[in-house]
């Protein structure tokens, strides 16, 4: 079992980090985001002396944490789509590879890609803006794993749809996160949304992550009710998405898709 998971991780690592342009594509965007939002926040602070809390810290924390979700989803989806683009699915699915081994390796490589992608951004934020992400302490780890888990849930659903229904769903790999963004309350509180949007947002775990993040940074308060909601919703969504992904593999076998899938 571990041999096959290791084999897949080595493969995805070679694809993701195997050349400088590929490596660059993983970490340049989070770094650009951090610099952009950092300088913008600095400008806001300089022009608004009545700022009562650390705007810079809140915005940069939100940028980094949102990117955890985005990188998590992209890392998982792109690794799986790579198998489709390289017309390798047939070879992969005739090996003794079990579906949960594929799921595990996609999760591990997504976590690795996210960590590699965000590390330079965190260092840049520290250097230019004296921003300390680790101010959130243990809760940062909690938020990291829960946001990346949301990314995995979306990643498994998108990967399953592309596998079963074809390339038209590939667009979702990039777009779905941005559909989710306004509902996730990354940069503003839940109360600022219209009531109808609030109802949708309440079903999304990122909302509780970013609400909790702001509470910690502004008021130094931990809302355990929010933390429980994050865990519960994530457990529900991640397990359902993995189940969905496996069902799509089963359905692809039924429809003969695994032997003809490709570019």
């Amino acid at each position: 079992m571990f041999g096959r998971i290791f084999a897949l991780i080595i493969r995805y690592k070679t694809i993701s980090f195997g050349s400088f342009p590929r490596l660059l594509s993983i970490f340049y965007w989070p770094s650009v985001q951090i610099l952009f939002w950092g300088f913008f926040s600095n400008f806001l602070i300089q022009n608004n002396s009545s700022s009562v809390f650390n705007v810079l810290s809140i915005i940069l924390s939100a940028v980094v944490l949102w990117d955890v979700l985005f990188r998590g989803q992209l890392g998982l989806t792109m690794s799986f789509l790579e198998e489709i683009w390289s017309r390798n699915l047939t070879n992969l699915f005739i090996t003794p590879l079990k579906e949960y081994e594929l799921v595990s390796s996609l999760i591990i490589i997504s976590a690795l890609r996210t960590l590699v992608g965000l590390t330079p951004a965190v260092f840049l934020a520290n250097y230019f803006f004296n921003f300390h992400l680790f101010e959130m302490g243990f809760y940062l780890i909690f938020f990291f794993f829960n946001l990346i888990a949301i990314g995995w849930s979306i990643g498994f659903i998108v990967s399953g749809l592309v596998l079963r229904y074809g390339h038209s769903f590939e667009e979702l790999a990039w777009a779905i996160i941005f559909i989710l963004l306004p509902f996730s309350c990354v940069y503003y509180p839940l109360d600022s949304l219209p009531p109808i949007m609030q109802k949708i947002s309440q079903l999304l775990p990122p909302v509780y992550v970013f609400e909790s993040m702001r509470m910690i940074l502004i008021e130094q308060i931990i809302d355990f009710k929010n933390l429980s909601k994050i865990l519960l919703l994530n457990f529900l969504y991640l397990s359902s998405s993995i189940l969905f992904f496996m069902l799509m593999i089963k359905s692809s076998r039924k429809h003969g898709i695994l032997i003809n899938q490709g570019e």
Partner: protein, 235 residues
């Protein structure tokens, strides 16, 4: 080795495979023939567990494929010129990857031996995406032999190869079968190739078995002098 019973497969209410039953014995090479759309690829897909049958049963090495799929797949492999290996990796990285997936022990030695036997040592460090079609066919065959399969499924095994290399690969396959007492199932439109290495053939026609048996016996029985005549006559 392989026992297929009453196999049916339909896609979107269209029957592609209709009531197919046959056995493949140990140490044999079987050619599967048929015009385009006869159901060859679907049949191969079902033998590898890639396509689930609508009904019927496939037993490989005495075990039910559906129930013992992962155990059976350790001893099966497949090669097709229409299925690629990852292009962004070198040939060696690809072969290491598949060796690990099949749990091959001492895989570096296995790959060295296979590369030497298939005369493709010079390809190992090259990027798979940069290879010619013929070189890819050789590398794909090498991948298909990594786990020393007892049942080897080949789709057009000599496609894109020059005549000299094609003869070399055919001889290699016959030797491989003899040495490992394996069985090989080949689909090919190259009828000379089928005639030169297969002891048995299965002729598929619109998803059904039209003829099945010993090649020489079938030719004699139907008074044909070559497989080509037989194929055109039966088709």
């Amino acid at each position: 080795m392989l026992k297929v019973s009453k196999l049916f497969k339909s896609f979107n209410n269209k029957m592609i495979i209709k009531n197919i039953s046959f056995n493949v014995t140990d140490n044999s090479i079987v050619g599967v023939l048929g015009k385009n759309g006869a159901g060859k690829t679907t049949l191969l897909g079902m033998l590898m567990g890639l396509i689930s049958p609508s009904s019927g049963e496939i037993n490989v090495f005495g075990k039910n494929l559906k129930k013992y799929k992962n155990e059976i797949l350790k001893k099966i492999n497949f090669q097709s010129p229409y299925i690629d290996l990852p292009k962004k990796m070198t040939v060696q990285q690809n072969l290491f990857f598949y060796s690990r997936l099949y749990g091959v022990m001492y895989f570096k030695d296995v790959i060295d031996d296979l590369a030497k036997n298939l005369q493709m040592n010079d390809l190992l460090k090259k990027n798979y995406g940069s290879l010619s079609a013929g070189q890819k066919t050789k590398v794909n065959l090498c991948k298909a032999l990594l786990n020393t399969p007892k049942l080897l499924l080949l789709d057009e095994p000599t496609a894109s190869l020059d005549p000299e290399t094609s003869i070399f690969i055919r001889d290699f396959l016959v030797n491989y079968k003899r040495l490992h007492k394996s069985s090989i199932i080949i689909t090919s439109h190259n009828l000379d190739e089928i005639q030169s290495i297969c002891s048995e053939i299965i002729l598929l026609k619109s998803g059904e078995i039209d003829s099945h048996g010993n090649l020489e016996f079938l030719l004699q029985k139907n008074k044909y002098s070559s497989l080509e005549e037989f194929f055109l006559g039966q088709g």
